[in-house]
Amino acid sequence: MIPAELRKRLSLEAGTSFRLYDKGDKIVLIREVKDPVGHGLGILRREATPLEENKENGRA
């Protein structure tokens, strides 16, 4: 269960899908994007975004 405060901050709605990655001592959740084909173009040129900007980019 993701805490309500975090759900609100990240604009998470019921039914939001995530990818789950095992990083050894932690688990990473990445929100699935609506348009992966468009999202992937140039992704290597982007910078990892701060938490407060992630909700715009489909990243949890």
Binding site: G38, G42, I43
Partner: protein, 144 residues
């Protein structure tokens, strides 16, 4: 350059990296993916190609690796496992065609086996495998 309307597409590391970097030709790879998504089928690559892409991506932007892996998993892209048989056929194809890297050899072998179109950003690779879809004019394979 037009995207062929039918047939299987096989992507090599150079084309996938052009797409992920947003380089010239990456937009054509995007169109290949869009075409596959619209038609309900998947482009193909090999596990060895994917490993090369991940290695290069991690070298260029390690902080984005989770995002890169996530988006690649969501694309209409089937990753063909590298079996012993594919490894053996890949090296034979590389020798016959003069392909110098193993990942490229595996992509060429897969394209040949399934009668698909190799999508590449490597001019040398396109020359070695006639019928390939060349998405840009990069030469050489050291940095894909």
């Amino acid at each position: 350059m037009a995207v062929p309307e039918q047939g299987d597409f096989v992507l090599d590391a150079s084309s996938l990296l052009a797409y992920l970097r947003g380089e010239p030709g990456g937009d054509l790879v995007q169109r290949v993916f869009s075409h596959c998504a619209e038609c309900g089928y998947k482009a193909k690559t090999t596990a060895l190609v994917l490993l090369r892409v991940y290695e290069q991506a991690a070298e260029e932007n390690e902080l984005m690796m989770d995002d890169v892996i996530s988006v690649l998993e969501q694309l209409p892209l089937e990753v063909v496992p590298l079996t012993g048989d594919l490894a053996a056929q890949s090296v034979r194809t590389s020798l016959v065609k003069g392909i110098k890297d193993s990942a490229g050899g595996s992509a060429a072998e897969l394209a040949t086996t399934i009668g698909g179109t190799l999508v590449t950003a490597d001019k040398d690779m396109a020359r070695l495998l006639p019928g390939s879809l060349l998405v840009s004019e990069r030469t050489g394979r050291k940095d894909y």
